[in-house]
Symmetry: C2
Subunit: 471 residues, 2 copies
């Protein structure tokens, strides 16, 4: 069964859907806008939960679980919050055979219901900082579906914190962003831009929003994680107060931050190629797949003995290995199958390899073949995986550098944006024309060099901004 | 701050609520029937997910994620299924600013939406068995709330499998039940009864339901896990077919099985006592809490050096240790706090202990104090934890044995049931009177000795049945 993946260069959208479906990561749900995360896609999400979850817990944030349904009156308490989220809410209006007196929102985010609880739990400065996280499903009604990248329901983690002082909340906002940046670079091999969202793009109810952004191979940028400094906005409307060390009751300062299953879309569109998915070793459910090659029963016996030995050796050094022992499928079929699924390294073992006490390794993203001695695999394979991880990050960084342009004026801007790039340019702070579908994806932290003129209107620029078409 | 836990013997309901709230496991949600699982309660759920999840994965079942919202038409496909669940469903009727054309159920269970996907995914016998699990939130509208035990929304895992032959489905149904039994015994120290649910108590849409049941200290039995043999009921209505080895298209056989966050209620009501929660070491988030005792700065320095050494030693042998280093709280306050929270073993280290190179251990469920040499803690503490685990299971088994009665007739039955016990008696297969609020919680697998007469009506018995008041 040859795969039929549309070439990436020909049609990035078709390529994306082909890869997600043929790598068996996800499927469309029956309700418009929904998706099913299949075992292979979910295994990636589980690793994200494991690695990012360890970072969250390691920072002292505690996991909990808050109810799915939020009373409409809660959402309405913070005016800009309801205004921002109302158009996307799914409402429960009937339950237990009766019409409800108040509509209940299927959580689009949990600031309101969590702050309602915080208002009961927080009494004293001794209760602060309070730092809670939950891994849950959330719902934001969508008209178009793009598997992982845009679905009505998605999975995410949302951190919610309460602090005695504004500096602490500001520091927490930056800490969470920095955690996301590190996670993307080190685990997903995705280099990200960091900075502020503009006022019009910030979270509904926040003082300001920090974000990580990444340019994908379809030419659009994805907001891959956000961290909001909520100031005292929610604390005031939910009446959260704490007695400070002098006994005075004060209003605390808050943050919230989240990363979602959309990041799997970024993973696909950062590393994938015409053969399918490419997974960095640090996130791959299987880092190595071993494909045994044999014809006769005797060959099978010899080969499988070697396969088992290799798998055991690698598992001892914590390499995640899968042996593809399926009967009735040719080695060629299996090679292709695992290439589509993006396993970083394939090991082929046939009778000749057994005789030479070696194996053949094939690197997914380069196609490079290297023979390796069995006796040294406990060192050579982990080294190879480390090299692959670094190489994927380097490639992604190079792709972004090559696709980041500076332009002289609005005419150049309009031409450049069609190429699917980031544009690094000056901005005056006012709304720019909407004709290009480009937006300011981020105001980088690095504002050392601000271009003279705003790329939109030619007036003096007050900011350095990165423009792109956004997912 | 002395705790105010109502004695268990005085009022089991009040005791239960006191323990859940004062051990900081959970809180009431703002929508009637909902709950918030706080970090300490959620840490227990995370361990359940870890241990039971490993058993599920270890059996070759794969985790996935299916959408929260289920079209009403799906639920209606299996007649008894919709009849059973309709009264408990919460419906989304508006979303994205519009009234929906079809109501969407917030999943009460996922057979229908998963079987809709199976009907697309399964083509050949090569695709079978297909075995999927998901850890998700589910919603069944409740009028009364009892934290963990009865809430509108709860967390669970649900396994769904498809098999080529009825024997395989029957074996899977038993395998899942056996997995739950082992998990309850070995991890939660809860002995369970196993057997069939009666026809009237089986899952809506199943051929039959197997269950584990456990008697709690409030005198009621809890269904702690269920495993359903669905036969071909869902496969037929969702048109799932596979080509068998001869190419003939056949209807497969299915199972589903689940365990929920209700089990945390069982944990509390199996081991708890007048001081609060008691956690078996295999499920406790912290198995050991170390409370340092000092007055002067020099004492603090010496004691903390010893505390750190002990913690390091124990962590090396995989003991989950927490050091309670809170300033401004007395050792007595801390002792009490951790007793309420049920940590199985407390280690106290003060200046005298440091001098003697020993520590004082206090076992939560017995109050026994034992001095132990620091040099041998890597052995003595794990041994002690194993003993505690065994002892808690033995106590629970003893409690159940003492609270399982045989009765001569219906008059004795009515008296006995008031004592909060299991009644092991004969049953004729017909509905029994409803005046006692007792139901048949299970028809035990062990049917070797069937009493002569039905305890309800006096007619010849056809089954051995266990009666109780049920949660």
């Amino acid at each position: 069964m040859p795969t039929k993946i549309t070439p990436l260069s020909k049609d990035a959208n078709a390529w994306y859907n082909d890869v997600v479906l043929q790598a068996d990561m996800a499927d469309y749900g029956s309700v418009r806008g929904t998706m099913i995360i299949k075992p292979y896609g979910f295994a990636i999400w589980k690793r994200i939960q494991r690695v990012l979850g360890d970072a969250i817990e390691g920072a002292g944030v505690q996991d909990a679980y808050f109810p799915l349904l939020i009373p409409e009156s809660f959402l309405k308490k913070e005016a800009s919050h309801i205004e921002g989220f109302a158009p996307e809410v799914a409402w429960v209006t009937e339950a237990g055979g009766k019409k409800l007196q108040e509509r209940l929102a299927v959580r689009p985010t949990s600031e309101t219901i969590i702050n309602d609880a915080f208002s009961r739990w927080i009494e004293s400065h001794r209760d602060l900082p309070m730092r809670i996280n939950q891994w849950v499903n959330v719902m934001r009604w969508e008209k178009r579906t793009k598997l992982f990248l845009r679905t009505s329901e998605f999975l995410w983690q949302e951190g919610h914190t309460v602090h005695a002082a504004p500096e602490e909340a500001a520091a927490e906002t930056e800490r969470a962003l920095s955690m996301y940046k590190t996670f993307c670079r080190e685990t997903l091999a995705i280099p990200v831009l960091t900075g502020h969202k503009t006022e019009s793009e910030k979270f509904a109810g926040a003082d300001y929003t920090l974000a990580i952004e990444t340019l994908l191979k379809d030419g659009k940028s994805l907001q891959a994680g956000t961290s909001h400094n909520l100031g005292q906005n929610f604390a005031k409307v939910f009446d959260i107060k704490f007695a400070d060390e002098t006994g005075v009751r004060a209003v605390p300062w808050q943050t919230s931050w989240g990363m979602s299953s959309r990041i799997i879309g970024a993973l696909i569109l950062t590393h994938g190629d015409d053969k399918g998915l490419v997974l960095p070793p640090n996130i791959a459910p299987w880092q190595v797949v071993i494909v045994p090659i044999y014809k006769t029963d005797q060959e099978k016996k010899d080969v499988m003995a070697s396969v088992d030995e290799v798998a055991k050796t690698l598992r001892k050094v914590d390499v995640r290995v899968h042996i593809d022992q399926r009967d009735g499928y040719s080695p060629g079929y299996k090679f292709n199958d695992w290439e589509v699924r993006g396993v970083p390294l394939r090991i082929e073992i046939g009778p000749k390899d057994v005789a030479k006490k070696s194996v053949m390794t094939v690197t997914r993203h380069t196609g490079d073949k290297t023979a390796m001695k069995i006796g040294a695999l406990d060192k050579s394979i982990p080294e190879m995986l480390t090299k692959i991880q670094t190489s994927l990050l380097d490639n992604a960084q190079k792709y972004r550098d090559e696709h980041t342009l500076k332009v002289a004026d609005y005419k150049e801007f309009k031409e450049a944006i069609e190429k699917g790039v980031l544009i690094d340019a000056g901005w005056c702070g006012e709304k720019i024309k909407e004709e290009t579908k480009a937006t300011i994806i981020i105001l980088p932290f690095d504002q050392k060099t601000i271009p003279e003129a705003c790329v939109g209107c030619g007036k003096p620029a007050t900011h350095r901004a990165i423009f792109a078409r956004a997912h």
